[in-house]
């Protein structure tokens, strides 16, 4: 089963990369782009076959390693 963990900078945390992307997009002539946030996505192939259990395991991984909750929030989805 494939699980997606998406990790984003928390609101209020500086996101220099998102800001730079927004800037670059504007520079390339893409109009109407507002706030840009840049995060990470980690795609995990897990042996678990039960979706709820897989989700729970991925959440544990996110809390332990994949996200730094001082600066990041995360969400887990089954792909």
């Amino acid at each position: 089963m494939k699980v997606l963990v998406t990790v984003m900078p928390k609101a209020g945390v500086l996101d220099p990369q998102g800001k730079a992307i927004g800037h670059a997009l504007a520079g390339l002539g893409f109009a109407g782009v507002g706030e840009v946030r840049a995060g990470k996505v980690i795609e995990l192939e897990v042996a678990e076959t039960d979706a709820a259990a897989a989700k729970q395991a991925a959440e544990a991984m996110a809390r332990k390693l994949l996200a730094n909750t001082v600066i990041e929030s995360f969400r887990v989805e089954i792909a």
Binding site: G12, V13, L14, P16, Q17, A20, K40, K64, L65, L66, N68, V70, I71
Partner: protein, 234 residues
């Protein structure tokens, strides 16, 4: 002083650090392995050196912070042990929760390898007692993620408790935006734990300990440690 330098996969400034410590103690510090679960008996300083542990993949220092030896280091710090984290080591200390905040990507979004200057905010610490208060010293930085971040409450607490050890500053000692190349909150270059025994900083004073290489601006930091720990041992 009995110092141990921890080697993680991808650590690369361990020899620089060993040279700096050797300069003030006369002997080579011990190299410790990330999979060790205990520190050698009698250790009074643990150094987490610079480098790219685990390639800086995911987040700098994140995987190293989960290493077996980190448990031992946390216990050591809890018991009042001295822990110095430089660059990647600072990132590990924040990831492991031994110091608050986090180190984000440099505001320039580029790796910064250049001279910087730091102002010494207090001199009554194990790491700074050989500096003058307000002294500005030169060091080099070499990092992609040195942009210190903490929420406002944490920053207020750090300031209030005097735990900001070092701030990026101009040669004249002003903490200006221009002196703060990586964009750190309040120009913070290094912070201390409440008991002043854990220090994390981004620049590399271990590269400024030899007049033949790049001057000796960083030497007082190591002399401070040597003096503190020699007294402690006596």
């Amino acid at each position: 002083m009995r110092a141990g330098i921890v080697l993680f996969p991808g650590t690369n400034r361990e020899r620089d650090m060993a040279l700096a410590l050797q300069r003030v103690t006369g002997h080579r510090p011990e190299m410790l392995w990330h999979r060790d679960t205990a520190l050698p008996a009698g250790t009074d300083l643990v150094v987490l050196p610079g480098g790219f542990s685990y390639g800086d993949y995911l987040r700098c220092g994140a995987m190293a912070a989960q290493s077996p030896i980190m448990q031992a280091i946390k216990a050591f710090a809890d018991q009042g042990g001295h822990v110095l984290g430089v660059c990647n080591g600072f990132q590990m200390l924040t990831e492991a929760g031994l110091l608050p905040g986090a180190l984000l990507r440099n505001a320039t979004l580029r790796f910064l390898s250049m001279d910087c200057r730091m102002r010494v905010e207090r001199t009554d610490t194990p790491y700074t007692n050989r500096f003058q208060r307000g002294q500005v010293f030169r060091s080099t930085m070499a990092h992609g993620d040195g942009n210190y971040f903490a929420d406002d409450a944490t920053l207020e607490r750090l300031e209030g408790e005097g735990l900001v050890a070092l701030r990026y500053a101009t040669p004249a000692g002003e903490a200006t935006a221009a002196a703060n190349r990586n964009g750190s909150a309040r120009n913070i270059a290094g912070i201390l734990s409440p008991n002043l025994r854990v220090l994390g900083l981004m620049p590399h004073p271990e590269n400024q300990v030899d007049p033949e290489i790049d001057g000796t601006d960083g030497l007082p930091l190591f002399e401070s440690l040597a003096a503190t720990l020699a007294t402690a041992a006596a």
